[in-house]
Amino acid sequence: MEVEINTIKVTIDNITIDVAPGTTILNAARQIGGDVTPPAMCYYSKLEGSGGKCRTCLVEVAAGSTADPRPMPKLVASCRTGVMDGMVVKNITSEKVTDARNGVVEFLLLNHPLDCPICDQAGECHLQDLGYEHGKEGTRYQFARRTFKKEDIGPYIQLHMTRCILCYRCTYVADQITDKRVHGIIDRGDHAAISTYISKAIDNDFSGNMIDVCPVGALTDKTFRFKNRVWFTKPVDAHRNCTTPGCCGKATLWLRGEEVFRVTARKDEWGEVQSYDGKPGWICNTCRFETKKTESWTIEGVTKISRHSVIGLNKYQTLEMPKETVKEVMNGIEPKLLMDIHSVSGVNNPKLHLSEIEGPAKSSDFKN
């Protein structure tokens, strides 16, 4: 009798799940979902060879497998470690992991400029999320941060190396989409930098996807830079018949009013590009940078964003008013307002056109 074993059991933070052999710990944890999933800054399931670099996904392996239940001596990168049958993994239940992860986040933020108020990535930045969860309130770093000059990679993408955390994702995109490699890392150590070969432009129809995979604001869309904050724009799913071979034509449009401010690929709950028919849904530069009219797209509906960032609140789907609590804490007494200026002043008088009044408006203007 032959029984083919097609699933193996792995326990992550006391939750046991059956997964296919060859699954990594991180992907097993993603199948469970929620807080059990380690954060990942460099791993990108759609990019071959990515992962293992940022060390935010470190987990403790308390038991290697049923056959060999010894614990692993060091914390392991969950994105690059395969599960074994009977493996016991500790993520948030391990103090060692939390401690190491806090350390990694501190290291990542060490040379990061923290210029979120002027950064286009703010609101959908993975480093921001990570900083909120694991960062310290202050920095222990008392030296000058390293800085780089901004660099244009082609007409559509700007590289702001100062913000980069060297996750290598964009180099994998460039490697896997361009025929001739022009994009990579130069120098080493803390002065290592992403660069194209002597500031060459990446000449490829899919180069814009580097912006989508960048976890921070190091690679930004030049057609969107400083145009808007992401949380002011409304994401809608849309598609068009794109003629570029390899482009899935499915995108998220970021609208304000009727105006399309930005086009990105559709992302899943881990911030990665969604897959269609097993293929990552990369979009071409024509869709991303040149098709910015709603008429060119068939809009499917509001995007559901399941990531826990500021734009992930889904406030566009249902608008909930904050509950009035004054009456409650005042033992049922209605709040007594000193003056309700709206009912008194008539500022909201629809018949009145301020543009018709000469000079600044006076209270007498409203009393007519």
Binding site: R55, L75, V104, Y141, G184, I185, R188, D190
Partner: protein, 449 residues
């Protein structure tokens, strides 16, 4: 006087050249090995107890037996000659003066492992040694020790020398393989280990120069004879490159039974410390192993004499011991400043970090900056605890051992010399002109006459 196996013929004139080397009994081990079964050679090396001489001290025979042998896939032997550890220069000596012993050892190892193409990856700074090795390979090939059908045995082996571009990280075996493949020298994420997937995705063994050279006496004399030299699990002889404040810096071949005290003070080896100065500290195995203060260096925490071998040097773990490492023996006398010394090492590791994983990339730079500010008298007391915290968060959390190598010297310096760091912080002006000296020892150090 200890037994010499590798450097026995070092003073024979012209030993660098094939004719003299062959006349002195060279390439005997190849003749012997080609008559043996490859697996028997692996067993022989296993029996000899030879441990990797590159730093980690992993049993070589064991490493060889892990090599995967799938059908139809080539296997490779790569010699790690990227000797970049500060304080280590033993491989340079061996390759420069007796290059044929490495080639001889590599032919035996290639035969044992079934590698038909073997590489020597040499650090870029050793450019003149590249020429010496190239010449030695040409000589060996001319005389039928390399190439097709070696000595009529039917075994083919080609050997190539590849120069690196001067990166410390390329001494890490997977970074070395990446570099050898022509890519950026970033360490790979393990597993898979090189024994399964190494050079160009094929099973590969990476060994240090001295390890491969040691195969020659093992085959010549037999594993039992070799294992008799030394003590416990430290068999055979070890090359030590001694430097720093000693009278006779240089390369010494020791048989791992002598004590550290004898090694530093006897005239046969380092010949004591110059100008009648006292011993302050020592790094016994190359810059990345923990530094030890004189009292812990000469005797273990249990009060036993510390010997120059793998077990004794690591006795007491990192709390009171160190490591044999690659044998880069750096001696510091009483005039040396531990803070400055630690800063120098931190600067090295910051410069050599590949920048791939965040703890090492950011942490090494941070440690260097803090150490510089303490060294310049601008540090705070809290900086010492901060340094400890940073090294703790680097160690064990990185892709390759460079993170550990950067963390250990800082940790050991704080562990054993914390008062010197505090003195630097508390005396910001004095520390620029004066030296802390030996004051931090509660007990007077026993200094041999």
């Amino acid at each position: 006087m200890g037994r010499k196996l590798l450097l026995e013929k070092q003073h024979v004139e012209g030993i660098r050249h094939y004719d003299v080397y062959r006349r002195e009994g060279g390439y005997r081990s190849v003749e012997k090995a080609l008559k043996m079964q490859p697996n028997d050679i692996v067993e022989e090396v296993k029996k000899s107890g030879l441990r990797g001489r590159g730093g980690a001290g992993f049993p070589t025979g064991m490493k060889w037996s892990f090599l995967a042998k799938p059908d139809g896939v080539p296997r490779y032997l790569v010699c790690n000659a990227d000797e970049s550890e500060p304080g280590t220069f033993k491989d340079r000596y061996l390759m420069e003066f007796i290059p044929h012993i490495l080639i001889e050892g590599m032919i035996v190892a290639s035969y044992a492992l079934g590698s038909n193409v073997s590489y020597i990856y040499i650090r870029g700074e050793y450019d003149w040694i590249t020429d010496i090795l190239d010449q030695a390979i040409a000589e060996a090939k001319q005389n039928g020790w390399l190439g097709k059908n070696i000595q009529g045995s039917g075994f083919d082996c080609e050997m190539y020398v590849q120069r690196g571009a001067g990166a410390y990280i390329c001494g890490e075996e997977t970074a070395l393989l990446e570099s050898l493949e022509g890519k950026r020298g970033n360490p790979r994420i393990k597993p898979p280990f090189p024994a399964i997937k190494g050079l160009w995705g094929c099973p590969t063994v990476v060994n240090n120069v001295e390890t491969l050279a040691a195969v020659v006496p093992i085959i010549n004399e037999g594993a039992e004879e070799y294992a008799k030299i030394g003590v416990g699990k430290s068999t055979g002889t070890k090359l030590i490159s001694a430097c720093g404040n000693i009278n006779k810096p240089g390369i010494y071949e020791i048989d791992m039974t002598i004590s550290v005290e004898e090694f530093i003070y006897s005239d046969e080896y380092c010949g004591g410390i110059p100008n009648g100065k006292k011993l302050k500290a020592c790094i016994p195995g190359g810059s990345s192993v923990p530094i030890l203060p004189a009292n812990l260096l000469l005797t273990t925490a249990k009060g036993e004499k510390r010997l120059m071998n793998y077990e004794s040097l690591s006795d007491g773990g990192f709390a009171s011991g160190s490591m044999m490492g690659s044998g880069g023996f750096i001696v510091l006398d009483e005039d040396q400043c531990i803070v400055r010394h630690t800063y120098t090492l931190a600067r090295f590791y910051r410069h050599e970090s590949c920048g791939q994983c965040s703890p090492c990339r950011e942490g090494t730079g941070w440690m260097e900056k803090i150490l510089l500010s303490i060294e310049k008298g601008k540090g705070k007391l809290s900086d010492i605890d901060l340094l400890w915290d940073i090294q703790r968060k680097i160690e064990g959390n990185t892709i390759c051992p460079l993170g550990d190598a950067a963390a250990w010297p800082v940790a050991a310096a704080i562990r054993h010399f914390r008062d010197e760091f505090e003195w630097h912080v508390n005396n910001p002006e004095k520390c620029l002109t004066e030296n802390f000296g030996l004051r931090h020892y509660a007990d007077a150090i026993h200094v041999p006459v």
